[in-house]
């Protein structure tokens, strides 16, 4: 065994962490090599020197400070855990409402491009409403040329002619 290999194995040897074969090899080498023997002694000296370092004791009140910080923890942890929840819940609810609204829109019935009966009725209603102001104005209605031709008929009901929207439009 070379000195370099022994040096690298010395820590484990001194620490009793080598297997018996390796230990035997190192011991054989140490018996004949003064340099490695000295080095092993120095490593042991390092460990002895490190034993001289005094241990420190946690100061009075250390436990209390830890317990105080830990006592404050559950509240913080609960708060932290809770904060994102309403946001998530609100976002999810908003998403659901949006999805329902989009799904139930009339345009999504499958024939959005073709105006169906509903669309026609809506247009008719719109036209009727558009002219409602005019029709309710009696002066305007009586002076309309189109209505003058209907005088005999209208005379039967002179006070309140009630032409239907469809008639006025014709």
């Amino acid at each position: 065994m070379k000195c370099e290999d022994v040096s690298k194995g010395l820590i484990a040897y001194l620490d009793r962490r080598t297997d018996s074969a390796e230990r035997h090899e190192i011991e054989e080498h140490l018996a004949h090599c003064a340099d490695c023997r000295a080095r092993a002694g120095e490593f042991r000296g390092v460990w002895s020197a490190m034993d001289e370092l005094p241990a420190v004791e946690p100061s009075f009140g250390f436990d209390a400070r830890v317990r105080q910080r830990i006592a404050a923890e559950p509240q913080r942890a609960w708060f932290r855990w809770l904060v994102p929840q309403p946001r998530l819940a609100f976002a999810a609810a908003l998403l659901v409402v949006l999805a329902v609204w989009v799904a139930q829109r009339p345009g999504n019935s499958g024939n959005a491009g073709i105006p169906g009966p509903t669309a026609a009725a809506t247009e008719q209603d719109f036209n009727a409403i558009k002219d409602l102001g005019v029709l309710e104005n009696y002066d305007v209605v009586t002076k309309m040329d189109a209505l003058s031709e209907l005088v005999p008929t209208a005379a039967q009901q002179p006070e309140k002619p009630q032409p239907s929207p469809s008639e006025s439009n014709d």
């Binding site: 690298k8 230990r23 490593f43 000296g45 390092v46 460990w47 490190m50 001289e52």
Partner: protein, 204 residues
């Protein structure tokens, strides 16, 4: 029958604060000492130890006994210590960069005394402890952590490797470099060490 650390942690996980308290009392001293030797300041070491216990407490719900409790505990402690050492070094670097340069210092470059002179000064101070502390503190932080876990916590190689997140081979190399560095630095104190005896383990 005394409960194991893992059982205590599992009980703490289940909501038993007394079990956590037991772990606190059991490990406060080893933790503060480990951190003190890492950062060399007791107040900082205690702050960091509190942080470690707080992290353990926060992580109790996710705790699974996949490793020894001490491996987990000292892994957290080592990470906290390494972060603190690095932050501190970064701060010191910023201070030194921001500090106005002294003309006197610029004019006369600092001369380091010879190695023998420095050691003599230390020995003249009769402060072996401070000398040893400085030697340990001069190690790169990962080597220092490895040596502290090996020497004072008496962890086996596999456990230290897990704490430091490296292979056992890398750890052996790390420890060898660290002890070799200490051997050189502490040579004046250890030169009169006894000759090795066959099969003798490290002194405790």
């Amino acid at each position: 029958m005394a409960r194991s650390d893992v059982q205590l942690m599992l009980d703490a996980k289940a909501g038993d604060t007394a079990s956590f308290d037991f772990l606190l009392v059991k490990y406060r001293s080893p933790l503060v000492n480990f951190l003190f030797r890492m950062v060399r300041d007791q107040a900082t070491a205690e702050d960091l130890a509190q942080e470690v216990f707080l992290r353990v407490y926060r992580a109790r719900k996710q705790y699974t006994p996949s490793a020894k409790f001490t491996t987990w505990l000292f892994r957290i402690a080592t990470n906290v210590a390494l972060n603190s050492v690095r932050d501190n070094r970064h701060q010191k670097m910023q201070v030194s960069l921001d500090a106005p340069a002294s003309g006197e210092e610029e004019a006369a470059p600092r001369e380091l005394p010879a190695r023998e002179m420095r050691i003599d000064e230390h020995l003249l101070e009769r402060d072996r402890v401070a000398f040893i502390q400085r030697a340990v503190a001069s190690l790169p932080e990962k080597q220092r952590a490895a040596v502290l876990l090996h020497k004072y916590e008496e962890m086996d190689y596999a456990e230290i490797a897990k704490v430091l997140d490296c292979t056992e081979g890398a750890l052996k190399s790390l420890l060898f470099r660290a002890y070799e560095s200490l051997r050189v630095q502490l040579a004046p104190l250890v030169s009169q060490a006894a000759q090795p005896r066959a099969g003798e383990g490290r002194p405790s």
